[in-house]
C-alpha cells in the first residue's frame, strides 16, 4: 500500500470545532456539548457549564427552598449530580437548559419535601409575582412561554394559580389544598383536570 509518512505532530491535538463562546452567547448546542464533555469528565467543560448555568439553577433552588443557606447547599448537590450523571442527558429528549432546570427543580423539591417542619413559613413568599423575563430570554423562547401562558389563561384563575404555584414554588397537594380551602382530593382532581386541559391546549 502506498502509505506516505505522517508526521506524528499532526496528531498531537485535535483542535476543537468551536471556539470558546462568550458568557452571553451560549447556544443550546454549546451547552449540549458542555454537558457531554462533562460526562466525559473534562473539568474545563464542567467549569464552563457551571459558569454559564449556575445563576439560573441557583434561582430555581432559591425560589423553591426560600432559604439562602439551604439553596446554596442544594446547588452544590445539583452540580455534584451533574458531574456524576451528565451522561443521562443523552437519553433525554429535553433541551439542555430544560434538562438542567429539571435536575435542579427535582432536587430542590425533594429537599423541600424532606423537611420536617412545615415546608413554608413565609406564606407571602409564594406569591412573588413572576417578573418579566429579560428580553434576551424572550427572544430565545418567548413563543413557547407565550403559548403556555395562553393555555394557562384558558383555565379558571384559581386553577392556573395552583398550577403555577406548584411548578414554580414546589407547592405540595397538601399546601395547595390548605391555601385554596378545599379538601386534598378535590385539589388533586382540580390539578389533574387542569393538566389534561393544558396538554390538550398545548397540542392543539
Amino acid at each position: 500500500m502506498n502509505v506516505p509518512s505522517i508526521p506524528p505532530a499532526a496528531f498531537a491535538t485535535f483542535p476543537r470545532k468551536s471556539t470558546t463562546p462568550s458568557v452571553q452567547t451560549m447556544t443550546p448546542d454549546e451547552i449540549t456539548r458542555l454537558i457531554f464533555r462533562t460526562a466525559l469528565k473534562e473539568r474545563a467543560a464542567f467549569d464552563l457549564l457551571y459558569r454559564h448555568t449556575s445563576a439560573k439553577l441557583f434561582g430555581v433552588c432559591l425560589r423553591i427552598l426560600q432559604d439562602r443557606a439551604e439553596a446554596e447547599e442544594a446547588l452544590q448537590e445539583v452540580y455534584v449530580k451533574l458531574w456524576t450523571r451528565a451522561d443521562r442527558f443523552a437519553a433525554s429528549e429535553l433541551s439542555p437548559i430544560s434538562w438542567l432546570v429539571a435536575v435542579a427543580r427535582n432536587h430542590a423539591i425533594d429537599r423541600l419535601r424532606a423537611r420536617k417542619k412545615p415546608a413554608r413559613e413565609l406564606d407571602e413568599a409564594t406569591d412573588i409575582a413572576d417578573p418579566a423575563p429579560d428580553p434576551e430570554t424572550m427572544a430565545v423562547a418567548g413563543g413557547e412561554r407565550r403559548r403556555i401562558d395562553a393555555c394557562l389563561e384558558e383555565l379558571e384563575t384559581d386553577r392556573a394559580k395552583a398550577v403555577r404555584g406548584a411548578y414554580l414554588n414546589g407547592d405540595s397537594y397538601a399546601e395547595l389544598a390548605a391555601r385554596f380551602g378545599v379538601p386534598l382530593n378535590t385539589m388533586r382532581t382540580w390539578l389533574r383536570r387542569s393538566l389534561i386541559s393544558l396538554r390538550e391546549c398545548l397540542e392543539r
Binding site: 502506498n2 447556544t27 456539548r33 437519553a91 430544560s98 427543580r105 389533574r192 396538554r199
Partner: protein, 245 residues
Amino acid sequence: MTTAEHNGPERRDDDMVAAEYVLGVLPADERASVAQRIATEPDFARLVDAWESRLAPMAEAYQPVEPPAALKQAIDRRLFAASAPAASRPGLWSSLALWRGLAVAALLALAVYAGLTYTSLPLFQQPGQEQGGAQRLIASLAHDDTDVRYLVIYDGAKRDVALSHVAGDRPAGRDFELWTIEGDAPPVSLGVIPTGSSVHLALSEALGKAIERGAVFAITTEPLGGSPSGAPTGPVVALGDLREI
C-alpha cells in the same frame, strides 16, 4: 404500579403520575417511588420527559441569581479534593493524552482496515484545503463508567460514517446502537452497530448536515435489533463530539 397501589382503589394512570411528578405536587414517599420508576422503566421515563418538556416554558420565570463565589470551590472540594489538592489536574490530562494517543492508533488502524486509499484521503491536509468544503471529522467515543471505545470518522464528501471498534464488548443479548444528537432535537438513530472491527454506515443528507453543524455521537445498549421505539432506551456506554482533523 406501586404508586397506583398505595393510592387506593383509584387507579392512577401513568401519564397523570408523570405529570404530577413533574409539577412537583406529590409527597416525599410518592416522589421517591416515581424516581425509582424513572430509573428502571424507560417507557415511563419518556412520559416524564414529555411533561418536563411541556411545562418547561414556565421555568423562564425563574430569575437567575448569581451564587456566591465560594460555592464553586465547595463543589470542587466535594468532587475533587481527594484526588487533587490544589489546581493540579495532571491525572486527568495525562489520561486524556493517553486516550488521544489511543485514538490516533485506532485512526491509523481504521484507515488501513477500511482500505481507504490515502490519495483520496484528505486526512492530512491542513484546514482550509478541503476539496469542495467537504468536512472530515473525528470523534472518539468513550465513557468513564465503561470500557467501550469507538472511533468515528465522518466523511462529508461521501456522507459516510466509519466506525472503528477499539475496546469493550457488547453485553450478551444486547446490541450497540449509534445516535447523533443535535442541540435540543431528539436523538436520531444511525442504526445498530454491526459487529466487526471496522464498519461503515451511510448517512442521509439531513444527518450529514446535522453532523457538520456540530451534532454529537452517543452509543447506547439496546435490545437485539435496536431500540424498539426509535428513541434511546438503554444506558449510554460511550459518547463524544466531533473534532476537525
